[in-house]
């Protein structure tokens, strides 16, 4: 008890040192908590945006189409008026479904062209699954006819305004060039940058007629009651398809967002690397402080040893002292981190502001990023801060404690 008291008194005796070391630890903890919150927020928002605006909860397509879906081919298509799709859509978990036809084209403004992704949508059904109509910045939502809507980013890039005519150049299934001249009736501004920069939406019928695909579509998109239902429902649909010997396959939101999940996983690894750097930083700070205090207090150590204290008791004093510093640092860090995370959650931060507006690194967020709240991280980092501090103090404390008391007393 005496030793513990002595150790704690040391904390107040060397206020400056205690404060500086605690601040090093708390700074590391603050950075970690804020970056973790950003990663959680980024991950949640990316997935939400992707599911809400691109993939929907579940998709059904031909298995062979899935393999090449990134190229948006015009083979392995499905019949638009599809008996089995109609039948399975009666499932009570299905809120709505819509057919879509995807193909690649170049958009042309008479001076230059730019590669785009064209999506033929059912103008009535699509809004029940993907709520693009909520993101119309100018003009109106897509209607049947020779009309198109595009994202704000693409319109700025190609200098298009509402009521302008766009020309799409693409190849039909037979590899023959065809064009669509469509009137631009609406501009989209969604929180998904890829949609704003790459996508052109046209009525499904216009796409089918221009591509000579007849009544075929690329995929069916489903909107369910909740995102989580899609995993179990996709399995249920797939069992049904394989029973009927069909080559159709249902894909849940996780499979549809696998690229993004991989990217986010990559982000988690980066987070771990950052954590590692913070550990090194904090450890170096603690080791430095303990060595300095051991050096400064060599005489004191000598005196303690002369009074009969054993080496392990001296190590104990230093370790308790370090634990105290760890607790103070961790507490300040967690409080500061809590304030930071609260601000991030409420106010958010603009990704384009951080990157100078040039790029969002392919992250599908165009608006402010809002932080996520992760209580486990707070608990973990609090304990971690104390542990690092304690572990970092052991070696230098042992070095000090091993000194010969006479030499230690007369080291000057």
């Amino acid at each position: 008890m005496f030793l513990t008291k002595l150790a704690l008194r040391n904390l107040t005796r060397h206020k400056k040192r205690t404060v500086i070391t605690s601040l090093v630890i708390s700074f590391g903890i603050f950075i970690f908590l804020v970056s973790d919150s950003l990663m959680v927020g980024l991950s949640d928002m990316s997935l939400d945006n992707n599911v809400d605006l691109q993939t929907a909860h579940l998709q059904i397509m031909e298995e062979e189409y899935w393999a090449n879906k990134d190229e948006m081919p015009l083979d392995n298509l499905l019949k638009e008026d599809n008996k089995i799709i109609k039948e399975i859509s009666n499932n009570p978990q299905v809120k709505a479904y819509t057919p879509r036809l995807y193909f690649t084209a170049t958009i042309n403004n008479g001076r230059e062209d730019y590669p785009v992704k064209v999506i033929g949508i059912n103008t009535k059904k699509d809004v029940e699954v993907i709520k693009l109509d909520e993101y119309i910045l100018e003009g109106e939502m897509l209607q049947e006819g020779k009309f198109a809507i595009i994202g704000k980013g693409l319109s700025e890039l190609m200098d298009f305004r509402v009521n302008d005519y766009i020309t799409l150049l693409f190849k039909t299934k037979e590899g023959t060039y065809n064009t669509i001249d469509a009137k631009l009736i609406g501009l989209l501004d969604t929180p998904h940058p890829n949609i704003n920069k790459q996508n052109v939406y046209i009525p499904l019928l216009l796409g089918q007629n221009s591509l000579n695909t007849g009544d075929k579509v690329s995929r069916f998109l489903f909107n369910l009651e909740t995102r989580e239902q899609s995993i179990q429902l996709a399995e249920q649909f797939n069992r049904r398809f394989s029973q009927d010997g069909m080559s159709l396959k249902a894909y849940n939101w996780e499979k549809l967002s696998y690229e993004m999940l991989a990217m986010l996983k990559q982000g988690n690894i980066e987070n771990l690397v950052m954590l590692f750097i913070i550990i090194i930083l904090a450890t170096a700070g603690v080791i430095n402080t303990v060595i300095l205090s051991a050096l400064e207090r060599l005489e004191e150590i000598g005196m303690m040893k002369a009074l009969g204290l054993r080496a392990y008791e001296i190590v104990y004093i230093f370790v308790i002292e370090a634990a105290g510093i760890g607790i103070i640092g961790s507490t300040i860090g967690v409080i500061l981190g809590g304030i930071g995370v609260y601000l991030l959650k409420e106010v958010g931060i603009s990704l384009s502001m951080m990157t100078g507006g040039e790029t969002t690194f392919g992250i599908p967020i165009a608006e402010n990023i809002y932080g996520g709240w992760n209580p486990e991280t707070f608990f973990f980092i609090f304990i971690f801060g104390i542990l690092v501090s304690v572990l970092a103090s052991i070696l230098p404390a042992r070095w000090g404690a091993k000194k010969d008391p006479v030499k230690a007393l007369y080291h000057k």
């Binding site: 190229e71 001076r111 190849k171 037979e174 023959t176 060039y177 065809n178 221009s210 000579n212």
Partner: protein, 244 residues
């Protein structure tokens, strides 16, 4: 006497009809005979004009049947090579020191930023099997009498352009102008042959200008500086190894 004159007129009319009764397919085949080369070594210059900015590229190409090797020789692109074998195209950039296979949508891009797409450059099939031809008019193009032949793609044929309209010299059987249309009827590209020359008994286009009609103020001129038919091509010229 009257009878003889009548007979002569009749013979003349029949003869004339026989001459003008040349079919569109025959015209196209005669043109193909002129323009289709079994093998050749060509030194050429490509002038790319984009909104007044001109780029000049020089190249040497060796071709044999449906294989070809093109090497750029102008300082900026020196060492850039393209190898075409049947429907495949590979490219070698000396800076990257790597061979890249071009496929899919990349083939629709303009070659080296020109108005000739890779696909246009690769077109070596004879069009006779892919299109239905019809002579739609006869008119003069730059003082040369021409057949105007419309080609509409055969149903199911895998070709880039749905409709082509060609001005073919009636006497020399060489294409002097061609318009390429999309299925929607939109004019996509226009090729005009500005200079022709008789080489080894056949008329051949020496200066061709391609214009992308979807883009304003761009055109590309392809000028043949020298051409040698049936040259000696060393073995292994058209191998992937030769690219590097």
């Amino acid at each position: 006497m009257k009878k003889i004159i009548l007979l002569l007129i009749l013979i003349l009319i029949t003869f004339n009809t026989a001459i003008s009764a040349i079919t569109a397919e025959e015209v196209i085949m005669q043109r193909d005979e002129n323009e289709y080369v079994k093998s050749a070594r060509v030194e050429a210059t490509m002038i790319i004009n984009n909104s007044g900015r001109k780029l000049e590229k020089k190249m040497i190409s060796l071709s044999e049947g449906d294989t070809a090797l093109i090497e750029f020789t102008n300082p900026m692109d020196r060492g850039t090579k393209y190898l075409k074998r049947e429907d495949n195209l590979w490219m070698f950039f000396p800076d990257a020191e790597d061979v890249v296979k071009l496929s899919g949508h990349m083939l629709e891009q303009g070659m080296m930023g020109s108005d000739f797409s890779y696909q246009d450059m690769m077109e070596s099939e004879k069009l006779i099997d892919l299109y239905n031809f019809e002579i739609i008019a006869e008119e003069k193009h730059h003082d040369r009498p021409c057949y105007i032949i419309e080609a509409i793609k055969e149903e199911g044929a895998e070709v880039s352009y749905y409709r082509r309209v060609s001005w073919i010299d009636k006497e020399r059987f060489i294409g002097l102008k061609e318009e390429m249309y999309a299925e929607s009827g939109k004019l996509l590209k226009e090729v005009v042959v500005e200079e022709t020359e008789k080489i080894e008994g056949r008329w051949y286009p020496m200066r061709t200008v391609m214009e992308n009609m979807l883009r304003k103020d761009t055109w590309t001129a392809f000028i043949i500086d020298s051409i040698e038919f049936n040259p000696d091509i060393p073995e292994g010229t058209f191998s992937l190894e030769s690219l590097q």
